[in-house]
Symmetry: C2
Subunit: 210 residues, 2 copies
Amino acid sequence: MKNFNKADIQEMDQRFRARMINSIGGFKSVNLVGTVDGKGNPNLSIVSSVFHLGANPALMGFVMRPITVTRDTFLNIKETGFYTFNSITSDIFKQAHQTSARYPAEVSEFDAVDLNAVFKKEFPAPFVSESPVQIGLAFKEQIDVKLNGTVMMIGEIQEIFIPENCLLDDGFIDIEKAGSITCSGLDAYYSTRKIARLSYAKPDLNISEI
Amino acid sequence: MKNFNKADIQEMDQRFRARMINSIGGFKSVNLVGTVDGKGNPNLSIVSSVFHLGANPALMGFVMRPITVTRDTFLNIKETGFYTFNSITSDIFKQAHQTSARYPAEVSEFDAVDLNAVFKKEFPAPFVSESPVQIGLAFKEQIDVKLNGTVMMIGEIQEIFIPENCLLDDGFIDIEKAGSITCSGLDAYYSTRKIARLSYAKPDLNISEI
């Protein structure tokens, strides 16, 4: 095995280190974040840092750097209080990746990459029409990480739209069936193949596939 | 499409809601967290909430509920200041899942599920011998999320052990080649198949596969 210690990591070329540290923690969720500014101009950005925070209330977080390409997303969420997470499939992953380009604030990434913004019910932020799994969130809390200047944006789920045939009887959403893909690092995308669902684990009980 | 709003979510059966909200955000990283208590007794727990926080310094976070099954992990990190993340492959995913059972504090999950703890160099927390990707971290900051009582544990990478043939020339770690799997929800595990790596996105430039 190859070993790197803290000093080795600090001495790496910046881009080499970014690729390594971004890919070491495992496969990641990948979503498109939809917002509008105060004038209703839409914005779309790809994020690979969405995480589950709790089910009751239904909270999700994501990490961002407010000074980089996600600056418009950050400002829009702060201004309007609402945003959407939209799943990425193998049909749209190149367009989704392209939203990470540094477009001027006045350019809608929806138009630039040819994805369709759709507004549903009274929800104030746009969903991605091409995404099978769509989540509308209300902004709840900004957590500043002083160690490196990143921020975590915490939101509560307000609306869920999922394909009817992907919701199982026990509540589990079959996101593989919905076409969701996963990613690693800054630029690698993967489809999945289910190995198994496992039963709830208890001491002295053999787990089984469910 | 099927639609659920905030009120629908609140009225769901607790376990139904937990399965749904845990699976909606996309595929997740899955790792084993290795720790010891002040007497050197090892502990191992599975987490699906590890996220990348920054590359310089190399910071990673994970979410936990200190009052549940990860209580020992939480206390051990606070007591010793060190822990490890270890990748999960299809060879050990059932054993990894079994660590989520509520074993008494005096039981080592390494023994209970038959995984091997290995200590490397001077690092104070145990790595999982069967895991191809092993990360040693120093605890840096605890962030309490008042919205729901969860905590985020932030750590800085001190040691990395990866298979020699999984590190690409540009720094990217091929975790698929290393056998890492991904998960969804509370209990579903998946292998991956690479679709593509994509070039750095710029406005008015077509992205290409790299």
